[in-house]
Amino acid sequence: MSGKLLNGRAFVAAFITVALILVVVEIEVRSALSDQALKDWPEDSFLAHERDDHGRLMAGVFAARSEDPPPGGHVFVIGGSTVREGLLPDAVIQRGLSDALGAEAPEIHTLYSFDQTMAETARVALNLPLQHGDTLVIGVNPRRLSFGEPALAREFVASRFSLLSNESLRALAATDTIAAITGNEPWLSETRLLTPWDSLAVFEHRLFMRNWVEGRLNANTVGAWDNLFGGKLGDVDWLALADVDTRNVRRPLRYAYGDQALTKREKAEIAAAVASTRIDAFFEHSPVDFAILQSLIETQLADDVYVILLELPRAQSSTDVYGPVWADYETGMSALVEAGATRLDLRNAPFGDDDFYDLEHLLAPFRPDLTDMFFEELLGAELDLEQS
């Protein structure tokens, strides 16, 4: 390095300049992503792209929070991709509820996101405007109960839902039910002295910001930057690096699968993957996820919020491959029912293996049937929806 560049004063001046830039960026990001500012964001402006489940979900939470409580209360359905793919849009279910219950029908919101962990479910639920008599429907299955402690820890360091506060989740994670398993790990205590950058909005919201920017840039630009930072200099499209054209994001697209299923061979490969990794993951992580659910149920029941655990249909081949977990799964679910949750078990609904895209996601033509079943179970779940 040239001796002229080893200039201490120049380095200090550059360091101070960068620090000032960071302060300005931090103030701007904190201001733009504050609860108050987010209320004014148009709903589709949260979306990084049309299939951004997380942006769509957070927009749904903010929209529900900004509305006056509906006279019939709320029904919030929270879950992963099986909920997303299995049920018809909210407007259809809403029409059914209104036909059945009249003007006092509750307002339904389905809050789905792919690979949603139980820690994420809890974070979302704890940010909802739930009131006495509201209903919280949580999609459950062995896969969703297999993320455990790493996923809970991730909510405090790198969440996909960072725009939703994690303070209530922090309190939930400190309850005896969860802490008895996690041992009140350091990530639950005050770590900001050790990692002060955790307090920075620019750091806390980095996943959202990156996803949001990447989704609005064109694919060539994102690929060029990926190659640059990935060290693949020979593959970098240098002109694309500077292409900052952004595209408008329109309404969210909910469904990923249509009416075409995977081949039998592809389904067999998924079953093999489940057998080789997800069974072990369930036994390793489900205690924490069951504890999160139990604490969440207790918290909601204390506020007179009904909690329904919704189990959606699965192909027989899925039931078979998950065979080793069912005994433990049933024990865990029974404990949750004892804690006060209501269980809606649609696992044995009459769908065949060919009715699923893979092993668990129902194909489009069968959504109306499943929605009807869900609807009937919801009305028959002794929840007294008319009083909510």
């Binding site: 560049l5 080893l6 001046a13 960068v18 489940d53 792919f114």
Partner: protein, 45 residues
């Protein structure tokens, strides 16, 4: 202004710009690497 007095200033500005660029690249790289989460990319399930 004499050539002798302008040279240190030019050297300082060059060194300043060099370190500014280095520090900005380091900050951006740290931010990008810490925000990399492959499962966040839409996978369809």
């Amino acid at each position: 202004m004499s050539t002798e007095s302008a040279r240190p200033r030019r050297d300082f500005i060059l060194a300043y710009l060099f370190w500014l660029a280095v520090l900005i690249v380091v900050c951006v790289a740290i931010w990008l690497s810490s925000s990399a989460l492959s499962s966040f990319r839409y996978a369809g399930f």
